[in-house]
């Protein structure tokens, strides 16, 4: 006597179609996309403030002695971020650059990350602005060119993103299951 197990391909295809349909529906979920966007922005902000460069997978290069001394003085007259420390290389003085990171939903399952606003110049000890405002996006380009790139998707946040999508997929599947129960 022998048994042979056969897969009913039509039911597998149906399951596959269902999953694809739910996945596509979930990708249009604005709440989920916002959650993902916020997670990515927070990841960049937190890691950068820790002094970790996501693109380089290493600590940011140290600040020069002269810049550390200058920062100490500037901190007396400028509002500094709570993660600021004179010698900490973490792209954080006022914190404005990292706070300016934004995202927008540009399509189904698509997010775009950018920088908003201008970066105001620091004040000197006489309370006068040191230079002119520049776009935060331009400033981000400068710091990257100066050897401190910080903008990127870490492996960790990619995994977090997967879990967020999975969470919403599960919710959608549960709702569908409930609806099926009602139908039955």
């Amino acid at each position: 006597m022998s048994f042979e197990f056969k897969l009913k391909t039509e039911s597998v295809n149906k399951l596959h179609d269902d999953v694809v349909r739910i996945f596509n529906k979930v990708l249009s979920n604005e709440q989920m996309m916002n959650e993902i966007g916020k997670a990515v922005v927070t990841d960049i902000q937190v890691k950068t403030k820790k002094g970790y460069s996501i693109p380089n997978n290493s600590s940011f290069k140290p600040l020069t002695r002269s810049w550390i001394n200058r920062r100490k003085k500037l901190a007396e007259v400028n509002p500094v971020d709570e993660e600021y420390a004179p010698s900490k290389s973490n792209l954080t003085f006022t914190g404005d650059l990292l706070r300016s990171i934004i995202f927008k939903i540009t399509g189904k399952g698509k997010l775009e990350f950018d920088f908003k606003d201008d970066h105001e110049p620091y004040m000197n000890l006489d309370g006068e602005p040191l230079g002119k405002p520049i776009k935060n996006k331009t400033l981000a380009g400068y710091v990257a060119a100066a050897g401190r790139p910080f903008f990127g998707l870490s492996r960790a946040v990619q995994l977090k993103t997967n879990s967020i999508v999975k969470k919403y997929m599960n919710r959608a599947l549960k709702v569908q299951k409930l609806l099926k129960n009602i139908d039955n």
Partner: protein
Amino acid sequence: MAKPKGLIVEQDLVAQEFDLESITGVDFSDEPDLLENIGNAIKDHITERVITKNQGYGGKQLRAPYSKTYQNSLEFDLFGKDKDDINMTLTGDMLGAINIISAEGSDLLIGIDDQNAAKAHGHMTGKNGQVKNMKREFFGVTIDELKKKVLSKFSSDIKELKSEQSKESTRTVADFQTVEQQINSTNFRVVGEIVDLGE
């Protein structure tokens, strides 16, 4: 010993993924605090296991003693280290960097995702096999360990949640029965008539 399920050992991430729903049969998506508490308990378990017992995942003893070169180094002296106490702690930064990276639905991602990841990767792999004496797989938990040492502390919460969730599914069936009974009942028809009259 086989590598724990979900363990990720990369240069930029040393972490472990846990799908607690598949492990416990319970959906944690409405219990984010509980999920986070379990995450913290996993983190604490790993740190404590390494520091107090010098053990890696599954209770495997970490390779002792530290190498002669390391023992003779200035930092070894400065931080008052003991050659036989393999606690993976010099400044404490690496173990201190273990954190809950993500807690979503029933999924947890716990580990090191900053500049300490490269250091942790070096220890976990013996610098990709280049320095075998340095290999100490300190991070991660086996499923057995997770159940016995961590989830056991939350057994009443998990049990309660399991019971609530099974009630929810029975309640759905029960609700349908009630609806069906209502449909068939006279009262329902009366209500229906009143509504019709109201229109």
